[in-house]
Amino acid sequence: MAVRLDSNRNVKEKDLLSHSIRFKLILSYLLVIIIPYTFVGISSIYKLSDSFTQQTLASEQYDLKQVGNDVKYQLDACIDLSREIVLDDNIWNYFHQTFAKPVDSISGFYSIIRPTFAHDLTLRPEFDRLSVYTNNTTILCNNYEIYRLQPQTERQAFYSKLVRGKGIGWAMLQEDGQKRLVLGRILNYGNISAGMLNISFKDSTFSDIFDEQGGKECTYLVNPDGIIVASTEKGTVGLPFQSINIPINKSDPKKVKFSNGVRWIFTSNFSLRSFPDENWLLVKTAPLNSITNATMQSTRILVLGFFLLLLFIIFVSITISNAMNKRVGIIVSGMKQIKQGVFGLHIAVKGHDELSFMSYMFNSMTDQLDGLMHQVLQLQINQKNLEIKNREMQLVSLKHQINPHFLFNTLDAIMFGIHNHMDETENIVALLSDSFRRILVWKSDMIPLKEEMVFINEYLTIQKFRMQDKLDWAVEIPDTLMDYCVPKMLIQPIVENAVTHGIAMKKEGGGVFVKASAQDEKLHVLVGDNGAGFSKDKLDGINKYMADANFSEEQQHIGLKNVYSRLKLYYGVQGELRIKSNADNTLVEITMPLQRYRE
């Protein structure tokens, strides 16, 4: 189970890992910033606009309450004024007294009524008219301040109603061709009525108050009897409020549905100081969008700000990821080039961060890599060379062994031996065949010293058989050194050289010795003979020839040269080959690192 999970994750990680850093960076911005930000933004805008709406609704409600206060103020002021006038003895007297002639009332009119009423109207411009309706036929009336009560009229009915009732009340009465809210109050003194005071409001008084809300609202002022006394909708004044049919929505009582759309509805109550039991009602409906618009305005600003910020974030993310990506790209393309074998490449990445450090490291690593590659190449070349040299050695040895001269000599000796020394000859043939096999079957390049010494012995035994008394040899190698390794066929060619060029060239023959010693962690192998030595010139020629890599291999010393080359290929400067020679002595010294042979 755990394993499966792991493997799944690996697959996922692989999927994730398989995308570019740029993609991952943008993905991380998206996941970590933009998506949460968008979520938070949208939800907060939603919340805010909701609270805007609530606020606007609250402020609309507050406005209506304010309108209620203003209206109440006007109505109260109207009642106050009526009280002032009714309590004025002079005015009551004027309307109550009987004049001998109507014109006798003119003094009172110009000294009391006209100035008092004019003064009151100047102080309270919200009232249209202050008038008294009277039954007194002995006073002048001008149908402005003073009216005569005519039977069968609205005012007469109003008067009768007031006389029967509390002596004060509101009514919607016809004035200047329209219905107006009128306060009526009986001019009462000691329960004797002298007429009825009417105070009417200017049409603009309420509409001005209503209009202060903004103008899109429909506002109705409904008196305690349920009659609309003022309204922004012309034609509804004077109608019962019930008759305009405001359909109340039960599920959302704040909204009502009209034929021309859904509107908010607000109501507010107030009662006048003098009539605390009677409730006046203010109803306002506002188009849905008048409030939503205000909200939308704020929301629009929020959304705009949000998107600007979002754009800014995206811009910044892309800029940063681009900057990073570009630099990573430089590194990646550098790496690709290296992969394609362009070593020693230097890349330039701006900045002082991890990436620039990476590029710095990259540069130093490519430098190192370049060096290493050179070394490896060199090593490979050496290896190849070695192989070539080994093959060469194989060939040389084979050539030497199969060289007709050697072969005939050996075969002669064998033929001679067959006649004389059967046993020995048999042994020689066996050695010869071993010798050939050994050359043909080149198993490994490095062999223990003792194995090399076996070859040398075989070789010398064969030569001895051929050359008889002309050849002697001696081997002085401590047993302790026998297990150290030497390149195969490294020493044998030297010995062969000593036999073929040294001993064989001397009539009386000679001796060959092989010595080995360890010193300073190095293996010293000495091969010496007392046969014909090298002349000085020849020795210089050989030394020069061995040191020069390009020098074409000379037939005659091909073996020696091969040995030298392999020694250098195997050990470099640690491998040395020195030749000393005079007229009848040649000494070849090979030095190589002391390495124990391991299978």
Binding site: V103, Y144, I146
Partner: protein
């Protein structure tokens, strides 16, 4: 206060004349007609504030004012009243002493405030046109200190009337028709015609008739009681003053027998049941509503004050209830002078002490007064607002139409609307012999309704102005109501008290039931005017001021 009322009335009447028909007239002209905006470089800037109510600020950019600027080389910046009332603005301006270069439509209150510079020297130096056109009337511009401070629209040339400018007898066409189109010349003529009709037709449209209309509340008293009493006695508009034309001593007019004569006439109407007693406390709107109902058979009132009611009568198909205009007097030996223009100027255009270039301002005012400037402001731009046909200026038909139908048009164009500026107006003639403005005497008849035409035909006239003789004798001091009385003085207080008192007493006198009552009330009235109202204070001051004016003017 009366002066103010009369000033308001005068403004209304001026309005009436301006609004009345207007159109073709004649004469040659050399008015420039390029309306180029052109370079303002090198122009002198003059600022102006006008106290005339109802001037819209847009007048600044009207083509005619632009042309005026072009012609005068003046960059004129006019500011109009807006928001504050003229009184408030005046008080603020005087308090702050923040005056423009030119003040328009101002009176002696700015002189008293020391805001204005005397113009006499400037007129001599810079104003050849004003000098020439005012001529000997130049002295009538003088303030009590003998100096000229403002220049109004000159009225020293006669003009033909289209309609009566002030109160006159108004009789319903139907009343005249019934009586066979007589021409009432005396109070008795009028009384008889009306009584006869009222006897036969006690009701109009189901409502009882009001044979004689009165509107005696507030300033209506002047229109329908005081001024008629002046006119029927052959006086000019001296308002409250009866001025002895040889000694120039002043009596309060309402104490004179001239006034009593008119009250006797009103009392006679009352005793014949021809007055509505409520008229004495009636307000303007309610009175006009009565007229518009067709119930008022006749009255003595200013035609322009009942123009709305007449329009309403025509609108409701009662054009036979509109009114013919007649001059009447107490008896045939007295000649009506109600429409005689007496020269006196109580407001005008002035240069303030803050003006940096009074010469330029004076030259600007002089250009307005020049024939060219006069034509430009009243007739407009040649080819745009008027053409010259047979050597006479003729207003373009579409301009006439727009001028008469659209109240804003005149202000947008600046056309024939700044009638109080120091230029000739109405049907006065200019130096070139042609009319000063396109107000058209003939168009009145052509635009009149059928009933009006019938009545005009019966009297063989084309307009009501032809009923009146404007050539009567003028007073030496102009109109007495233009005499400034210091506010707060004993004279002013006395006048105020008297005005309040006459509003109460005159109705009582008029509504007396018999001669004894009438006489006793009259005596009480005249006595109390002196004993309680101290009207002699006012009489003394008026006498003094009129005499002073005559001295100042005659120097």
């Amino acid at each position: 206060m009366l002066k103010k009322i009369t000033a308001v009335l005068l403004a209304v009447i001026m309005g009436c004349t301006v609004f009345a028909g207007c159109s073709k007239t004649d004469v040659s002209s050399t008015a420039t007609s390029n309306s180029g905006s052109s370079a303002s470089k090198g122009k002198t800037t003059l600022t102006m504030f006008t106290f005339s109510e109802g001037v819209p600020q847009t007048i600044q950019n009207s083509p005619i004012l632009k042309q005026l600027e072009e012609n005068t080389g003046i960059d004129l910046k006019i500011t109009c009243l807006s928001g504050a009332s003229a009184d408030d603005k005046r008080n603020i301006m005087i308090a702050s002493q923040d005056y423009p270069d030119i003040l328009d439509s101002v009176d002696e209150r700015f002189i008293d405030a020391g805001a204005l510079v005397p113009l006499d020297d400037l007129i001599n130096k810079d104003a050849p046109n004003i000098k020439k056109h005012f001529g000997t009337s130049l002295t009538k511009l003088r303030y009590t200190d003998g100096k000229i401070y403002y220049i109004g629209s000159p009225v020293n040339r006669e003009q033909k009337l289209i309609d009566a400018n002030t109160s006159c007898l108004l009789v319903q066409y139907d009343v005249l028709k019934e009586a066979g189109y007589p021409t009432p010349k005396t109070l008795d003529d009028a009384f008889n015609i009306i009584k006869q009709y009222a006897g036969k037709h006690p009701k109009v449209n189901g409502q009882s008739v009001i044979p004689w209309g009165l509107w005696a509340d507030s300033w209506g008293y002047n229109q329908t009681v005081n001024n008629p009493a002046l006119w029927i006695n052959g006086f000019t508009d001296d308002s409250d003053a009866y001025v002895n034309q040889s000694t120039y001593d002043v009596k309060y007019f309402d104490t004179t027998n001239y006034f009593k004569t008119y009250l006797t006439f009103l009392n006679k109407l009352h005793n014949n049941g021809m007055l509505n007693e409520n008229s004495f406390i009636q307000k303007y709107d309610e009175f006009n509503a009565e007229i518009a109902s067709g119930r008022v058979l006749a009255m003595y009132d200013a035609p322009c004050l009942i123009s709305d009611a007449e329009a309403s009568l025509r609108h409701s198909g009662m054009s036979n209830r509109c009114y013919a205009r007649f001059p009447i007097t107490v008896n045939s030996s007295v000649k009506d002078r109600s429409q005689v223009t007496c020269e006196s100027y109580d407001n005008g255009m002035a240069i303030t002490t803050k003006c940096k270039n009074p010469d330029a301002a004076m030259k600007f005012m002089d250009y307005i007064n020049s024939t060219e400037g006069n034509i430009l402001l009243n007739w407009g731009i040649k080819g745009v607002h008027y053409d010259v046909v047979n050597g006479k200026r003729v207003q373009k038909a579409d301009v006439t139409k727009k001028y008469n139908s659209d109240q804003n048009y005149r202000w947008e164009q600046g056309l024939n609307c700044l009638t109080w500026w120091p230029l000739y107006t109405g049907s006065r003639t200019l130096d070139d012999g042609d009319y000063a403005s396109p107000n058209n005497l003939e168009s009145f008849y052509s635009q009149a309704d059928g009933d009006t035409k019938t009545v005009l035909d019966k009297y063989k006239i084309k307009n009501w102005g032809q009923m009146f003789d404007t050539s009567g004798k003028k007073t030496a001091y102009g109109y007495a109501w233009t005499i400034p009385i210091q506010s707060g003085s004993a004279a002013e207080t006395a006048n105020k008290k008297a005005d309040e008192y006459r509003h109460i007493m005159v109705p009582k006198i008029v509504l007396s039931n018999n001669e004894q009552e009438f006489d006793s009330k009259w005596n009480e009235f005249t006595k109390n005017l002196y004993s309680q109202c101290k009207i002699s204070d006012w009489e003394a001051e008026m006498s003094k001021q009129i005499k002073k004016r005559i001295t100042v003017w005659s120097k």
